[in-house]
Symmetry: none
DNA sequence: TCGAAGCACTTGTTCAGACAAGTTTCCGCG
DNA sequence: CGCGGAAACTTGTCTGAACAAGTGCTTCGA
């Protein structure tokens, strides 16, 4: 458990630096869409790296869908793939913006305390291990829509204390600080609103809520966040499209009716 | 691919063969979830490959979210079972069987009557057009778990009258009779149990239920069924896995806690 | 002029070795 | 018996080299 170094300043491995530099050039428009990247040999020289290292960096970009290309041809910058459903599904802020709605939030509480039994189990840590808990009321066009309870493992949660939680997306902030969220498992069920839920969401206690519990994992497989989001079911639903034949995996959306 | 334009079959690159073999072991259950993979050194020996090649294969699996792990620790198989979600997601019977649970049902009502406003809208027909409505209580190991209200368009629903609804899967029966279900859209929300729901599901009125509304479409694009399934949220949840990089689309499961 | 062969350049695959960094195991000491 | 620490083992990073395979430009010949 002790190896995490979020936030510490150490020079990352070479292949990550190469990948970051190229990502930067692409996002800055220095390498416009459709342009060919420098050849592997050129990159080797520029970064004083071996070809294996450069290829490792390119593989990462290919993986993210940033570049394409084939054997014999230099890799080209691809059209910034459609806002990854991952991001959209994970981040309330991005989801709302993509729909043309105005996201908002009111932070009710942020605290560093020992993990409770549920969060500890979900995060795979011992009960009482320090975590950072955030309770935020999320708004859509000013209307209370969802109540978000998150528990972050300490090395990640620490990054939230120098962030204005009412300013925007936690995930965007964490990503900028080097936290590389990779996968998430969402469990959806229904639950009756308790007094606190009801008060904040301006509904009556006992009313049914649509609950999405979330376990987010970073690139190394470390469980980073456990979340419990409670939606007003009259304002938000989940939609799943599935198609039989064409091995088109199901597509999941959050929707407002 | 793996063949040239003349149809010749060429052996794919070694790293792909290694990855495929490992994928197979995972999907066959030979490497169960949570199990550690052989060490890189062992894999090198087994496949007579160098470490770089083995690592290339492992990177692919990691990318697909099949394995996780960190430095110093052997990679472990992650929860990401791959069954065809469509059938499983659509059919309560198949879903239950796949989990090793015993599905059951008690048909409360089957009737041919004019479509109500909601079903008519969902099916794209005029209100009052005849449809076949089925109300079934679905059981898991004998326990009332879900209440299923389905409206089938008349030409399809007619096939249900020569079928013992308590015998098994409606979808299997329809498929045998030539109804080719192709796609479905599921909308998930939460709703309070009404008196009837509560009575049949042996819960109290007003308790939160997990609702999945469904619109199934056949191969020609005709809307065939509108369904309203209400689950006891303490017995069934929906789970969605999503992975960022490997453009692995989200995977949807129904689960019993 | 036009087509094809050839060549230079590119990426894809694979190997062998070395060191760094994290984890687990196990032995000896208190 | 318990605990600390060394040792063995594992994965992560990086290098340098070689050959295979695909692409595109050039050049040569008909």
């Amino acid at each position: 458990m002790g190896g995490n170094s979020y936030g510490q300043v150490v020079t990352p491995p070479l292949h990550l630096r190469v990948a970051d530099e190229l990502r930067g050039r692409i996002s800055r428009g220095q390498l416009p869409v459709g342009a060919a990247l420098p050849s592997e040999a050129q990159l080797c020289e520029e970064f004083a790296a071996s070809r294996g290292t450069v290829r490792q960096a390119l593989a990462a970009l290919r993986n993210e869908g940033l570049i394409g290309g084939g054997q014999g041809k230099p890799p080209v910058v691809r059209q910034a793939a459609v806002a990854q459903p991952f991001e959209t599904f994970l981040s309330f802020t991005r989801w709302a913006r993509q729909m043309g709605r105005e996201p908002g939030q009111r932070t009710v509480e942020i605290a560093r305390r020992g993990a409770g039994p549920i969060a500890a189990d979900a995060l795979g840590i011992d009960e009482g291990t320090p975590v950072v808990e955030v309770l935020r009321l999320r708004l859509l066009d000013g209307i209370p829509t969802m109540l978000e309870r998150s528990s972050f493992i300490e090395p990640v949660g620490r990054l939230l204390f120098d962030f204005d939680l009412d300013a925007g997306s936690i995930y965007e902030h964490l990503q900028e600080r080097g936290v590389d969220l990779r996968a998430a498992r969402h469990t959806i069920d229904a639950i009756a609103a308790n007094e606190i839920d009801a008060d904040l969401l301006t509904i009556t206690a006992g009313a049914p809520l649509l609950r999405e519990r979330r376990r987010a994992i970073d690139a190394t497989g470390t469980r980073v966040e456990y979340g419990d989001d409670r939606y007003r079911p009259d304002l938000v639903t989940f939609t799943i499209d599935n198609v039989q034949a064409g091995r088109v995996s199901p597509h999941v959306l959050k929707e407002t009716p």
